[in-house]
């Protein structure tokens, strides 16, 4: 049962199975039910795994002078937090479905912002609009003080990095080649690595190898990316995004498919990257993880922002509880 929240049932609409598992964990004292009532909402729960939350929350204070690898010469710096992304009145519809309807969101440097919501709330659509893969019907996106326009490639070169819900590595290419794609962008766009400015001085290979170690990839850098196990696909995709020297990193369910120790390392890595100045925007279904590491959370439902605030504010928000768990009959 331990891995239930990490590996949700394939059929996300199988609420009965999820509820049975949740009740069992609750009986064993593992889960903390936020709100009350029958699960009348759509797929997704606001059940927090206390043990996991306890593991993730201290990460904020625990990070010290080194990263996951321990051997990396990155030192923490105090970064002034400033607004890097401002989304105003973003809207897009597909036929009669309003996937996003007047979404506002702000992200700051050196902070982790979370975007949560039930399935179909519009989270990935929101990321696609930000990265330019979809063109919104209306709304304005301001990134790093400038209006964000142009193709996904242009946005990538301006420092908007992202990963995908299903890792999209270039499977026929070696892990190293995948990472070098990011390094080439960083060089051609003359971007500085927010989390370690010294990386720019290294060759592509050295830089890629260091970032791979940074995210916790221990495998062969010359292995075909298509041959990697799922957890490594996630970490290598994260490394590839970091290689492009983003200012804002958008992660779409980055912890799904990771085992417990990988998830712990991952949380620690995100906090450290954030402390070093990187702005992170996160979509994640694992509530314990989101509540444990995010500084600010925006909750979407049916394409609209129904709540925003700190993790504790969001946890106690009635609209959020209703969206996730449904009202008691």
């Amino acid at each position: 049962m331990n891995g239930w929240l990490m590996y949700p049932p394939k059929d996300i609409f199988d609420r009965e199975a999820k509820l049975r598992a949740a009740r069992l964990m609750e009986q064993r004292g593992r889960l903390q039910r936020v709100g009350s009532g029958q699960n009348g909402g759509r797929a997704g729960t606001l059940l927090l795994d206390r043990q996991k939350l306890a593991r993730f929350q201290p990460a904020r204070e625990r990070v010290s002078g080194h990263l996951v690898d321990g051997a990396l010469p990155i030192r923490r710096r105090r970064i002034e937090s400033r607004e890097i992304l401002k989304v105003e009145d973003l809207a897009i519809h597909f036929g009669g479905v309003h996937a996003l309807d007047g979404v506002n969101l702000t992200a700051r440097t050196a902070e982790i912002a979370g975007v949560i919501g039930p399935n179909g709330a519009g989270k990935t659509t929101f990321f696609n609009c930000l990265s330019g893969l979809l063109t919104p019907d209306r709304g304005q996106i301001t990134f790093d003080g400038h209006k964000l326009n142009g193709s996904p490639a242009t946005r990538g070169r301006h420092g908007l990095g992202r990963t995908f819900q299903t890792p999209k590595l270039f499977g026929a290419l070696a892990v190293m080649d995948n990472l070098i794609f990011g390094c080439r962008t960083a060089d051609s766009a003359r971007r500085q690595y927010v989390f370690d400015p010294g990386l720019r001085r290294l060759s592509h290979q050295e830089r890629a190898a260091r970032i791979a170690r940074l995210v916790g990839y221990r495998g062969d850098l010359n292995a075909p990316a298509g041959s990697l196990p799922f957890g490594d696909l996630r970490t290598v995709e994260l490394a590839r995004a970091l290689c492009a020297a983003p200012s804002l990193l958008m992660l779409d369910e980055p912890a799904s498919g990771l085992d417990v120790s990988q998830a712990e390392n991952f949380v620690e890595l995100l906090r450290t990257l954030s402390d070093l100045g990187l702005s992170i925007l996160l979509i994640e279904h694992d509530m314990s993880l989101v509540m444990g590491i995010c500084d600010h959370i925006t909750v979407l439902d049916f394409g609209q922002v129904i709540a925003e605030g700190t993790p504790s504010e969001v946890q106690n928000n009635e609209a959020v509880i209703e969206a996730y768990l449904g009202r008691e009959h």
Binding site: A153, F170, G171, A172, A189
Partner: protein
């Protein structure tokens, strides 16, 4: 590399070079050198189609691009330009047409792009080519003029060496591009255009480059076709022929440079030799055999001639042959086809 492999490579290279150099004469028993000249030009066409496989697209416009090459040669020869000036001009002239097709490629994908290129080819054939080339042949209607071969290459045997040299140069260029960072980027593009673009790389630029490369090969092929035939009516540029050339490219191994060259040349020349050997009694059956052979290749060797050659070569070198390719590109998404990935040693598949 083992000593056996080195010896085999040296012997293979020597035999291949000897065969290529003597082909017009060595095949004299089967027919005139015109057949192999024709085959080499079809090899160029098939190469241009196969190159487009690098971006995962199918274009049915190469035949139209070929026609434009022929028209440019005619104009240049009328202006009295020498061959060494004409050839670069033909390459340059292919760029605007390729960019026009590139606009389709930036907006359309897959079958929609193929249909758009087919529509372009039909439009060009029914308007420009029929107007310019005439239906019966020649340039400018009744005031027909032929396209002449370059000085020193007037016989079919001599012309063969110019054609084969050009084809090998094209193949070398394509191989170098494929092995460069551009080739790596094209592989990435085929895997995930979205991932490549959010990383800051423009898929459009890579697509345009590939379409221009393919267009240049087809246009030069058309120029040589004009020189080979002399008088070319517009109905030589039936867009449906592009489907046949695409079939040749698949039989050679889509995306494979060597496979396209071999399949195009062989499938282009064999029907001509066939007609010659049968003294015209079996004209038309050549297509039946070509179709049958292509069908067999697609069914039993989806990787095409390139994959068969690779496996055969590995056996000759005494190494274990690579697993049979599932597609011309030998790229498998392990999440979509774990069994195939396991066959290639890319993943392990657990028993259910």
């Amino acid at each position: 590399m083992t000593t056996r492999a080195k010896v085999l490579r040296s012997v293979g290279f020597t035999l291949l070079t000897a065969f290529v150099l003597t082909m017009p004469y060595a095949m004299g028993w089967a027919g005139s050198a015109f057949a192999i000249d024709y085959g080499v030009i079809i090899g160029m066409l098939v190469l241009s189609v196969s190159v487009l496989g690098w971006i995962g697209e199918i274009s049915l416009a190469p035949v139209a691009q070929m026609g434009f090459g022929l028209v440019v040669v005619n104009l240049c020869q009328e202006a009295g330009l020498p061959f060494l000036v004409i050839l670069p001009l033909v390459v340059i002239s292919s760029i605007p047409i390729s960019l026009l097709l590139g606009v389709f490629a930036l907006r359309l994908r897959g079958v929609y792009f193929a249909i758009a290129t087919l529509a372009f080819a039909y439009t060009a054939q029914k308007t420009f080519f029929q107007e310019y080339l005439g239906v019966q042949g020649g340039f400018g209607g009744t005031d027909s003029k032929s396209i002449t071969r370059p000085v020193g290459f007037s016989s079919s045997e001599e012309f063969y060496y110019l054609l084969m040299g050009s084809l090998l140069l094209m193949a070398l260029t394509c191989s170098l591009v494929n092995r460069s960072w551009i080739g790596t980027s094209l592989t990435a593009l085929r895997h995930s255009e979205a991932a490549l673009s959010v990383l800051g790389h423009s898929p459009g630029a890579y697509k345009l480059f590939t379409i221009c490369l393919s267009g240049a090969i087809a246009t030069v092929g058309g120029a040589y076709f004009g020189m080979l035939q002399g008088l070319v009516p517009s109905n030589y540029f039936q867009p449906a022929l592009a489907i046949l050339y695409f079939g040749f490219a698949v039989a050679g191994g889509l995306g494979s440079v060597s496979g396209a060259v071999v399949a195009g040349t062989a499938f282009g020349a064999i029907p001509k030799y066939f007609d010659s050997l049968s003294e015209g009694k079996l004209v038309g059956y050549d297509l039946f055999f070509i179709g049958f052979l292509s069908l067999g290749l697609v069914l039993w060797a989806p990787g095409g001639l390139a994959d068969i050659g690779r496996r055969l070569w590995r056996r000759l070198e005494g190494e274990a042959p690579p697993p049979r390719a599932v597609t011309g590109f030998e790229e498998i998404d392990i999440r979509e086809s774990p069994t195939a990935a396991a066959e290639q040693g890319l993943a392990t598949v657990e028993a259910p």
